[in-house]
Symmetry: D3
Subunit: 287 residues, 6 copies
């Protein structure tokens, strides 16, 4: 059996390269995988569906083609009249308070797409390569794990279009690179590009791999490794760890105990322990 | 004079290798210093007592023998019938809600042991070596400082027994390595082993030392250095710094001012300043 | 046109080495730029004024002379009778609760100076060199970006005068180096000196430059680069990023959307996007 | 012009009794307006659509018929095999951890329905009458204002079906009645019924009206009054006030300033002030 | 079968007036039930044991004799030399920072006693009468429900001994009376006495009963009513509701779903629903 | 001796009607005590100075004349060209993002005035009478205690000038009336006037007194009562209680212990206890 296909998807390839592993590929290579309206809608649907599909235990995300994970927002589309970033703010006649309301609603919609990735119950691995600009940072910051190809070209690009990044980067970078360091301020305030090596040194990615094919393989190997583990344990770990951010240790300890009160009753525990004692590979029920 | 011995301790060696320095050694080397019920009870008593003993200014923790700091939970003991991780969840007859209640209470008890280490008023230095698995991460994450022997074998092992780590690792790792980085997710979601060098690179330990004897010496030297400083200043720094996590800068600044309102009235201030101006080594009253 | 000079300043040189860039130099080199009462007052006034001056887009801070960014608190001044750190706590006759009240008020005043730097709407870059002790850490932790000269001598010095650092270091270090790591505890609990290379490795500074003149140039180049970007975008990024600390991702996402509801209506957006499409250098209205 | 009808709604009457006012009536009177699956879906769609319809400035909610606002969950439907509250928990074969996962996902879905009411940008007024049990409390606690008919029969009924209320009551009651008072604990721990007079005394409702027709009229009058005010001001007040809960005064003040930075630029301000000075009734642009 | 007696208790009568109901009576009537050191120790042991005794579903607390629930701290004992409130602060020789450390540790110990009452898993009902001063407010604020005899004489008395209440009143009053109202400030800042009627009006108690015997009966009746309900539902409601304070609605909703994921699997649900449908009185397994 | 006069005050009468009691009277009765720019500046200076004057233990605030405590913002002044509420938003030429920046800075300045009242270390009592509109609610919500004359006419008036109240009301009302009740939403969303009796019933004021002279007397009597108590205890109670809002009980308990570690060392404790035992009236050192 395999994962349930997501219907009516045009801009993403969603495949299963191994049992329990799904690969989501952003597929608009002729535009450097840049995002515009209809892609948002698909992205959200994909992750909402994969989140609870019992045949899915790990999700890889990459970009089609060699040139870009994603160049970010498709600025030409965004600058068209009627859009929130256009010269008339989507509505040249309104007063600034009404325009602000339109913009706020629009930003919430986009944030909710990226948050659908962050909320996904299954672990997600972003495989970054080529141009990884703007939305590429927002999107990969919402993933659990980031590996990069060695020539990846990163930029928190939003400052270069005159705005503070508002789809998730500024809220999640402090969490995924650890703090609001001098380096975080450097790259977010200035939009200056940075390299894979820099991303590794500052903890934004945990591995750098030479060549896109090798990158995909490295991601796939790790995904298969994760998929072999107890899904109850893996998904619980993800949930509890994410809940730690912006909250106290004491609150998180209590939350952890309440979470595990149900989850330790899993058949995975017996299976994992027995397999460990007997040096066997365990199999686990679906989740 | 010396620190007050902790009574009725079987599984730990508690000694004072230097004035104001105490060394707590986990002492069950034949089982790789793995933990089971009676050891928890002792560990908590030890740290609660050392916390307020005025003869103690710094505490070192290590494992007896060369093979392990601790291999973690003694899974064979934990899997015995009647325990929360056994096949019958400690009580095969109860419905899941009542079993959940048993488990929750049990997790709180174990968390409270590790939290007794975290709450200890005196700085604590974990000296990690050999197998440092599962509980070894929980325990050392509750310490202030971590040094490792160069061949230490680390693993956030809980996923391999089918559970999310619930005794402290997931709540404290984001604090002690800085954020919920790609690397943190890698090692917690997968339980894959990692090396001392990796631990150093990602900030989990601040020093790597070759050879266990050298590790103990490095720890002891730093402990003696800490013990020579104003205990009012050192213990206040620990308290205020830990209070910063999960709270805003503004709240922590206010807390700091309230704390120091009492503590700056210390005789340590005059003694430290005068010694500094006169290039002498200060001595400080007990705390 | 240029920035509005800050009146009646004795202990700081405030100059504009490039359009929209201001350089604040601590100017008491004969005392290693150590701080005492009148300097606090000036420092606060300077940053409060620069914060809203539309001619200012980036601020550099360094110390006059080659020997020190700042050696920290001028302990000899602080130890004089009548001051909170003196032997009589500023008032030998009061009971400890009243003395505590005096100290608390005094600490709030000093914290407020450093917080004026942190609250400054414009990005700030600390250029660290020579002795960077005590207050030097408090002050630079309140800046956005830190570069260091390669021979800088750092110390969280407060423990050596018998107190826990209370002007900001303990509240902001977890934010700027990412977490309360083993290394953070090492250097804050012990006051041991650390090098520029160590500061770089642990993320306290993002660049190390050989020679003070080169350091100033590196800072100036980056400041000019920042000053060329949309001030609406840059200052919004700073505000939103700082608001992320100690709060949840969800709260920060909402805050970001509300912030951008007004700020995306900026003429900077059109100017930046058009310039980008047309490969021109944009200019932006003042802010 | 009038509000945009919500399509395909069976269980609710959605009408506009006055300009800018919408009335949502729960319409399953033969079952005391008790909720089951298909009604949740409709309720969420209704409020998501009304939230941003510029023709809507205030929403009334009541129940069809005289007997009940809503008797709460339709327990007979909920107890059917396959549902989370059935004897087999929706899946008799799964282990408790997988069953817990099913339940958690289901609860999130239901919470999200009620949260759609709470998130609605427009003010909502619950008009309570007859049986107002279980979900009736969850739903009305998510509204801004509550009026009750004098013979309303209230109960936080969940304890009587063996569960802690999990769709919102326990999270929002402390906010809407002010604290976790002795009375709140009385009625939530015991599920004992309480009267309209008691609800008024403890602040759960702000008005008690005799007779359902009068209740509807009182609600309508207040809705019309609200609808005559600046929608920018009213909706901003709702947003800022709700953001105050569980956060500090300092954080809320900052949030308010950021919100109003855009919203004070509204044409409503000039219109409202001029009308006030000229003793005229202002009209406002849509929002 | 009945609850397990708490061993070695001298200052409290602990009895079971009805199945699943325990009555804890403070028993030092000759001193108006004023507290001193050995009573704290007993109080904590009692509540820690009752918290998890499956034979206990509700706990009543009252004072022996007619004159006082408790007059609070036994000031004569507290003022004895060597105690933290004595003229020598427990240690006339120490400097203020060391004395502060002693006091802080002592306050934590006392707070922990009252917090043991607040943490008790079972609902607690304080029956207040006669003098209910100082500690009487701290203690009853940590209970879930408060009833008062009509002539009860209340006072947040601590200001009259020169201190801010530090054992829990100031932290829990905002939660149990709803906010930091004008009335809360009146009675806490001034220590002025207030009546049962005033306590009722401001929500501190939810019922006022004439005569101590009637008060006890009213409490017992409500305790029996609570004890007849699903213990899984009642205790879950208590836990979730208390977790709402100082946290956001969103966080509490998530916590609730996680809690109920285990607890809705209870046999109580089926029993409660079936009994409801069949108009029978359910019985529930122990918890 | 008496309190130190505040220099250069035109719009307020600041007098001392009794030892340690100061009366601040808003003095622009010809304009119903409405506020405009120069009054803000004075108000802040007054409260910052009184906050630490050791001759001040309690502060009363009222309005000159019989007609108004304050009618709120002087809308005619605010609507003048160049002000943030004027038709040109203070700067008709700027784009909305720059105008937003102006407005935000201006709101922060006004908020800071009201926050100076809230931060005042000494207890404050607002005596409300006549028109108490808009700013009258902001200002009195920042006080500790509120008494009202029986014919006071209240309104959270901001909605009537097209804005959400942004100087403090929305942030502090939930704290001072307990929650975000149906009544709070009624009066803040609609700006409908409410009476003293309503204010009393919903806890906004704690006393209603007939006649302004009687109101002043009632306030003065209570102020004198407060001034007779230990200032260490009273001011500590205020500080700790305010710190409880938006934070957890556990955090507040810890903060309380740290606060009292210094403050319990006060001579007030001995004086208060001895006076109590000896039935004498204590006197206390200045604070």
């Amino acid at each position: 059996m395999s994962f349930k296909p997501v219907s009516n998807i045009k801009f993403f390839n969603v495949t299963s390269p191994a049992p329990f592993v799904v690969h989501v590929e952003i597929n608009r290579p002729e535009k450097l995988n840049a995002f515009y309206e209809p892609m948002w809608v698909e992205l959200k649907r994909i992750f909402e569906q994969l989140s609870t599909d019992p045949e899915v235990r790990c999700i890889l995300i990459s970009g089609a083609g060699d040139r870009a994970f994603t160049a970010g927002l498709d600025v030409q589309e965004a600058a068209k009249s009627g859009s929130p970033l256009s010269a008339d703010g989507g509505d040249g006649k309104s007063d600034p308070s009404r325009q602000a309301t339109n913009i706020r609603r629009h930003v919430f919609e986009l944030q909710d797409v990226i948050s659908a990735v962050a909320r996904c119950e299954k672990p997600t691995i972003a495989l970054l390569h080529g141009y990884t600009y703007g939305l590429g940072i927002d999107l990969s910051s919402a993933c659990d794990i980031r590996f990069a190809e060695s020539s990846t070209n990163f930029s928190v690009k939003e400052v270069d279009i005159g705005i503070a990044a508002d789809v998730g980067t500024l809220s999640r970078l402090p969490k995924v690179v650890g703090g609001i360091t001098s380096w975080v301020k450097e790259v977010t305030l200035s939009a200056r590009p940075f390299s894979a090596e820099e991303a590794l040194r500052h903890g934004f990615v945990s591995r750098v791999v030479k060549g896109k094919a090798n990158l995909i393989n490295e991601g796939l190997d790790f995904a298969k490794y994760l998929a072999s583990k107890s899904p109850v344990a893996v998904q619980g770990t993800k949930n509890i760890l994410d809940a730690a951010w912006g909250r106290t240790v004491e609150d998180n300890l209590n939350y952890t105990a309440v979470w595990n009160a149900a989850m330790v009753q899993s058949s995975d525990v017996t299976r994992a322990i027995l397999s460990g004692l007997q040096k066997r590979t365990p199999t686990f029920e679906k989740l």
